[in-house]
Structures are given as C-alpha cells and as structure tokens.
Subunit: 350 residues, 2 copies
C-alpha cells in the first residue's frame, strides 16, 4: 500500500479492500463506535467502492464522523424493533448507523418471512444505508426475494416542475438463482448529484436530459442545475412517476418525511428523516425453490442475446467490478485516503 498524501495534486492511489475496511473501521472506533458496529458500517462503504460507486464509498466517511461528533449518529444505539402486526416490524433506529440497523431488521424479517411467507420492515430514525445492492443480495443468498426502498433528499424535479421536490429514491430488488443472485440497485434520478458537482467543478457540459435550471428549463450548465435547478428523473415522465410513487409509498409506510422535509443523509446538521422499507418473501416457505432453474436459464438466455458479447443482467456489472477490485485493490482519491488515515489515528482534531 502506497500513499501519495504528501503531494498536493489530487491523484488516485490503489488500496487493498482489506486495508480500506480496517482504516474506516479504525476511524469509526476512534470516534466512539464499538468495533462490531464500526465493522458493519465500514464494510458498507467498502461495498460502495468495490462495486464502482465511489459516491457511496469512503467519501462518506467525513460526514459520518461529523454526524457522530454532533450526536446526529449514535453509533452504538440500540435500535427498537417491534412487530406491530404478524407480518410487519417497525424499526426505530435510534440514530444508529444505517447498515447496522438495516442488518438487524433483515435478520428479523428473513426469519419472520420463513413463517409468514412475506414480511416487511419499516425503518425510521436511522442513518444513510448506502448502496441497496449488498442488502438485497445478502437476502437473496438466504433464499428469499427482497425489495428494498429508501427515500432521500429532494434533488429531482417533478415532470414539468420547477425546483427539486422528489428524492433520488432508489429501488433495490434481489432474487435468488441457481448461481449468483439477480441484484437490481438503481436510483430513479438520471444522474447523481455527485456527478453534477463533479461536472461543475471541472467545467464540463452536462449531458442533455440530466438536469433543469431554476426556471425548469433543460440545461447542460452544471452550475445552473445546482443553483436553484434540479436533477431530472431517469426516463422522463415515467421515471418521475415511479420516483414520486416510491416516495409516497416509503414515506407513508415508514411514517417519515416527504420531499424537501427529507434531510440528514448528505448534511451534518439534521437528524435523518428518511425512511427505509424492506419486503422479503421466502421461496422455501412458499415451495418456490423449484422455479430457480427456469429463472437461471432465462437470465442466461437474456445474456446470450447480447450483440457484442453477453448482455448484462442486473448485478452482473457490479459483480465484475467487485471481483476486479477485490483482487486488484480499490482506486481512492489520495486526499480522501489521507483524511481517513488521520481519522483512524484519532488525529483529525489536531
């Protein structure tokens, strides 16, 4: 492992994922988290990096730690899990780490679905859960089909509307197969705010369809998108309709906030007001494991339909990225890495 943190120019270094995990976990424990919880949160950020989504990776560490210091995240909080109906668990995260709360809920929901066939967790008061893929993938590996939804800060405009009023509201779906699970993890926005900010910083023109300006007009000017504008939904009016329907569904069923009242995942100022909704179905309980060979064959047929090589099925691309980076290491911005090392040594107050 080599670092170039001493240099001034922002460059990229490659870090083994194990080192990345350890340094993040050390940083979290240095700021008051128990090791077990720090490990779960660290693994979540590393999964973001491994799957090629740096926006959900180590870059989030600084906000996490700032939130811990301000009491907006209580790393060792004991979540309150309550079955309020035979198939539905309400989870109050008590400001705990999102991944820690989510995996606690998953364990309960998967067990319950093995009895009831289907079970749901409605999670509130829990910090950002990061990428959805690792959760639904872990459930699929346990033989269940899962849907995981989460709300997020309003960054997307209504179709025909001005200003951001809808979250980027991603959708996660995991379905077991005879081999690797099908894993969908997609935002309902056309692009991430991270990418818009990156384009603004480097003065590049946005792609058409990515954003609107403060008057609701399509723009390729990243600054105009940021200053009073908004990100466009993916897929035009349909993507908008899907995004707002998910916002209504998740906000209502988790008894959390809607639209611009959703805060606390990107900032270091507010308690998290978003909700996470998990639904899981036990294939074994329902006698459906016999479907998996046909599903596996179908997905292979779809892959075989590719024009210039296999067409990807949801999860394939992230799996390739993950395998490559697990072997070769993860490319990290060296300033981000240097800061993580400082946090890990408990030096960041200096």
């Amino acid at each position: 492992m080599k670092t170039s943190a001493e240099e001034n120019a922002s460059t990229t270094i490659v870090v083994p994922s194990g080192d990345l995990r350890k340094v993040i976990s050390d940083a979290l424990t240095a700021n008051g988290a128990l090791r077990a919880n720090a490990d779960v949160q660290a693994a979540n950020l590393v999964e973001g990096e491994l799957r090629g989504h740096a926006s959900h990776g180590i870059r989030r560490l600084a906000v996490l730690i700032e939130r811990m210091r301000r009491g907006l995240i209580v790393p060792d909080a004991e979540p309150r899990l309550e079955w309020i109906a035979p198939g539905v668990m309400r989870v109050d995260g008590n400001r705990g780490f999102g991944p820690v709360v989510a995996y606690r809920a998953i364990n309960e929901v998967v067990s319950r679905a093995d009895e009831t066939g289907i079970a749901m967790a409605a999670i509130s008061n829990s910090s950002h859960i990061g990428m959805l893929a690792p959760y639904v993938e872990s459930i699929a590996r346990r033989g269940q089909a899962a849907v995981l939804l989460t709300t997020s800060e309003a960054l997307v405009h209504a179709w025909g509307g001005i200003g951001a009023s809808v979250g980027t509201n991603p959708i996660g779906i995991g379905v077991p197969t005879m081999r690797e699970p099908l894993v969908l993890d997609m935002s309902t926005a056309s692009v991430s705010m991270g990418k818009i900010l990156d384009y603004a910083a480097t003065g590049r023109a946005l792609q058409p369809g990515w954003a609107v300006d403060a008057l609701g007009r399509p723009t390729i000017d990243a600054a105009a998108a940021i200053e009073g504008g908004a990100i466009s939904p993916f897929g035009g009016p349909k993507g908008y309709a899907l995004g707002i329907a998910l916002e209504a569904l998740v906000g209502t069923l988790t008894a959390t906030a809607f639209g611009t009242a959703v805060v606390g995942t990107l900032d270091s100022e507010f308690p998290a007001t978003k909700g996470d909704l998990l639904i899981s179905v036990s294939l074994e309980r329902l006698g459906l494991t016999g479907m998996l060979p046909a599903l596996t064959d179908y997905l292979d047929q779809v892959r075989d339909s590719g024009v210039t090589g296999p067409a990807d099925v949801p999860g394939d691309r992230a799996r390739r990225a993950r395998e490559g980076r697990a072997t070769d290491g993860v490319p990290i911005d060296d300033e981000v890495w240097a800061l993580a090392l400082k946090y890990a040594e408990g030096l960041s107050h200096d």
Copy 2:
C-alpha cells in the same frame, strides 16, 4: 348513441360509457359468461377506454371472445384461492377472466392484510388483467397501499441485446391520500406494441429510442422494429434493468413463465402463462392513517411546482381523462364498435 358502422372508412364515434359497458357485457354473456363475471370484465375494458388507454379497451374484446370460444378462457371458472402461508395466497385462476380472478384475490388479500399488516397474492393461470390502475386505486380507496405487478409477452430487448426477451412488465402502485389516491400504472417499455403497429400501418417514422431492428440497432422504421426487432425499454439501461428484475420477481413468485415463454394475453392460441403479483399493506392495521394529511400536502406541493400549471402526480392525468369521458362519452373506432354490437347480438358467427 349514433354509429357509422355502415360506412366503409374507419372513423371514430363517441359512445356513452354505460352503453359501452352494456354492449361488452352482452357480448361476453352471448358467448357463455354469467352476467356477474361479464360485468366485471366489461368494466375493466371500459376503464381502459375511460382512462385514455384504448389498447386496454374494447379493442381487446375480439381476442377475449376468440379465447372463450377456444376454451383458453373459461369465463365462469371458479378460481382456487389457497393461503399457503399466513401472509401469502396462491391463486390458480383456472383460466378465468383476469379481472374476475384479480378482484377475488384482492378481497381476500385486503382482509388478510387487515390482520397481518401485509399480505400477498400470487396469481397464475388467469387471463389478461388489463390496466393495473383500477385495481390499485380500488385498494387505496379501502385504505391500503398496494403494489401490483404482472408479466407480459416478451416485446422488449435486453440493453445491448438482439430480439425481444423481456415483457413490457408494468408496475402499479396505489397509495391513499386525504382525497384521490396516488395511482401509478406504467409499463417498463418505452412505447406499446399497439403504437408501433399503428405507426407501421400509417407509414410514420418512430421516435428515436422507441425500438431496435433485427440486428439490435436503434431504428425509426416501424416495420424493422416489428420484423425481428424489439421495443426499447423506457429510460435506457435502467428501464431494462427494472423490467427484467420485475420479470424475475413475478415469474418466480407466481411460478409462471419467463421471457418468450410468456404467451396467452395477445394471442388466441395459448393458455395464459403470465403471472400477477399483488402486495397490499393495511395503513389502519399499522396505525399509519395519520400520515395521510402530510402525504396529501406533499403531493399538492409537487403539483404547485409546475411551470405552466399544476405538475401532474401519478393518477391525475388519467383522472382528468376519466372524468371527461365519463361525462362526454368515449371515442371508439366505428369498426371496433360495430363488431362489438354484432358480438352482443350473438351474430358474429354469421
């Protein structure tokens, strides 16, 4: 009610929705359906017309009747509904009318969700259920939030793939509010096959992004799209990923077919091999009805963000169309209407 069926040119006439409903119901009873079942199926087609989706309207009558005559639809079949787990009902439609089977399942699932919080129906061996909106809307009016999915014939290509391998797999979501429910009903295809066929018949160029040709290349030639080509997913790779994830989820959980093995909704040759998946959550059982004022306010805020008038929230546009047509009547192709009248008089064998 005036018809111009005597004329040769295909023109449009306007029919009161009540007359439409009666004639379709008469046509189905003339072909062996009990009145109660015929009324439910007729109302479903009329809802398609009222909401401005003629592709799910009276145009489907001819295929329905042909399927009845061939025994592919058994109009008065008694569906087999079985709770195979506390939260999951398996429904074998026994070749019954899709809407009749679906509403039977809905009644059971809504009652069960009032006990268990969440309940699911997995429906197979049932004919086309038509638009999803009326179902999820009816559930939302009963105070539950619902997701309804159904698979359909493979008409959509994989992203980067050749040929149709994924259904148009629509997604329906209904959420109660203090006023009219939020109602999402959208296909995961960029456009319907009906529209492609219509463009082919009239020699118009497709819009870019609607379809690919037999070599998987984007095309604006409707004939090329039909002859070995495929419809494109909405929203590019994300829409494809969503569509195939829904296909995997629904096919597996309903133990039905995948991809090109899905048949029997557009044709008159095969039993229906698609599946319908319904999940419903009782807000009252979960103590969540107090969320509805905040949700209603949020949706109004989104509407108010419109640039040139209110931005639509899912369900708004169809509601306007429905109100207009319920008052003013439904525009129907006169040849389609003439055929329906013949069916209703039991004359179509002549």
